[in-house]
Amino acid sequence: MYLRLEYQSGEPIYRQIVEQIKYKVASGQLKAMDRLPSIRDVARQLKVNPRTVVKAYEELEGGGLVVMRQGQGVFITPTQAAPAKTRQKVIEEMARRMLAEASRIGADHKEVLAIVEETVQKMREVK
């Protein structure tokens, strides 16, 4: 499982792990019942404290995205209303970020929406 950390993005490391795993579920790279790498493996791969990985996995478990089975490992939750829902949450988060940035330069959601539409058109034309 490839994860990439940004040290100066303002996001705590544990939350970066959470968000990237959510993203992998949302995009279908991780599927129901897929087993996540062990805490130690993730810690060694990312060069982070194992407790940081524990914190990330616990948050994912709290959100119902994974189940931890004693002695067996950590798995993506089998009952997945989740992919669609997780997908929606990930996209919501992107939208929230964009709107927050836009409001800082005084743009409201209507202006943002219009520009999104316009950009979609332009991208289509390029294709």
């Binding site: 040290y7 100066q8 993005s9 996001e11 705590p12 130690r40 060069k47 404290n49 800082r104 005084g106």
Partner: protein, 310 residues
């Protein structure tokens, strides 16, 4: 709550009239990698020397692995690894001889690991210490400390002189060692980007005081840079938001703040609408705490005592 590996209470150390450490209070849990940062002359090396028992506290006390630094029993000494910035082994010694000395001093089987570690930089038991480059010397000394598998490691600029890939290799090795052994590592360094990648916590010493001790993940979440115009009012510390530093820079004013989660949202409230708010890295935070903090609530530019427990 994890076990405490290093506990420092009311620690002061004077050199004649100069107070090098001033009422330092700090606790470090086991299994943590701590970046010890501070300007030259801030007290980092004195701090490590007191922990090692090489210097006595003028007042207060320091404990490592439960033992008072003034009277560390023999069996505890072997569990603490130290790499100083200056003290050099004899030039004529080979790496193999140094490994032998380390094995004797620490009472631990160090040979296999040390040789493997040396090989990573193309060195061997036969390498003569005096003939090595500055970076290679550091590597040899780091290998000696790591090879003894200590429970606490105190490292003073361990990566200075190493090239970027060797620095990364050394820090990765440290991090993996901590993952496997739950050891505690304190690294005093000026190369912030390297240590930011692997450290769990940062402690900043300024003028002999602990200016900050915090988890890096908390700082990532809480510290922001606000960019204002020259005409904007500069926000004051309030409602849990702490102004760390202010700097005027070519037509703009940068303000660094720490905004705990419970104050979330209020940061926007105290800033003009068009102010840009950005995340910052450890280096910017460090500079805000040590260079630009004249306008904070810390009167006279003297940092507070430890105000952030973990």
């Amino acid at each position: 709550m994890s076990e405490i590996a290093i506990r420092i209470e009311g620690l002061c150390r004077d050199y004649g009239d100069l107070r090098a450490l001033d009422d330092v209070n700090l606790s470090i849990e086991k299994g943590r990698v701590v970046a010890l940062l501070g300007p030259n002359g801030a007290g980092k090396t004195t701090f490590l020397h007191v922990l090692m028992g090489m210097l006595e506290p003028t007042s207060g006390r320091a404990q490592v692995l439960g033992a008072d630094s003034r009277t560390v029993p023999k069996e505890v000494v072997g569990r603490i690894g130290y790499m100083g910035d200056g003290d050099e082994p004899p030039r004529w010694a080979t790496a193999g001889q140094l490994i032998g000395l380390q094995a004797g001093a620490s009472g631990r089987p160090v040979r296999g690991f040390a040789e493997q570690f040396l090989a990573k930089l193309g060195l061997s038991r036969r390498s003569v210490y005096g003939a090595l480059s500055k970076g290679q010397k550091k590597w040899v000394r780091a290998s000696l400390v790591l090879a003894a598998r200590p429970e606490v490691m105190l490292l003073d600029e361990p990566a200075e002189g190493l090239d970027p890939s060797a620095r990364r290799e050394l820090y990765d090795e440290l991090r993996d060692y901590v993952t496997d052994s739950d050891a505690t590592v304190v690294v005093a360094t000026h190369i912030i980007a390297d240590i930011e990648r692997i450290a769990d916590e940062v402690a900043i010493i300024n003028k002999g005081c602990i200016a900050t001790h915090a988890a890096l993940d908390d700082l990532r979440e809480q510290v922001r840079e606000i960019q204002l115009t020259e005409n904007d009012a500069i926000p004051e510390s309030a409602d849990g938001i702490e102004v760390l530093g202010v700097k005027a820079v070519s037509g703009a004013v940068l303000v660094w703040v720490r905004c705990p989660q419970q104050a979330g949202g209020r940061l926007e409230a105290i800033c003009p609408k068009e102010a840009a708010i950005r995340a910052v890295g450890l280096e910017t935070f460090y500079l805000a705490m040590t260079e630009h903090n004249g306008k904070t609530q810390n009167q006279g530019g003297r940092p507070q005592k430890e105000r952030n427990s973990i």
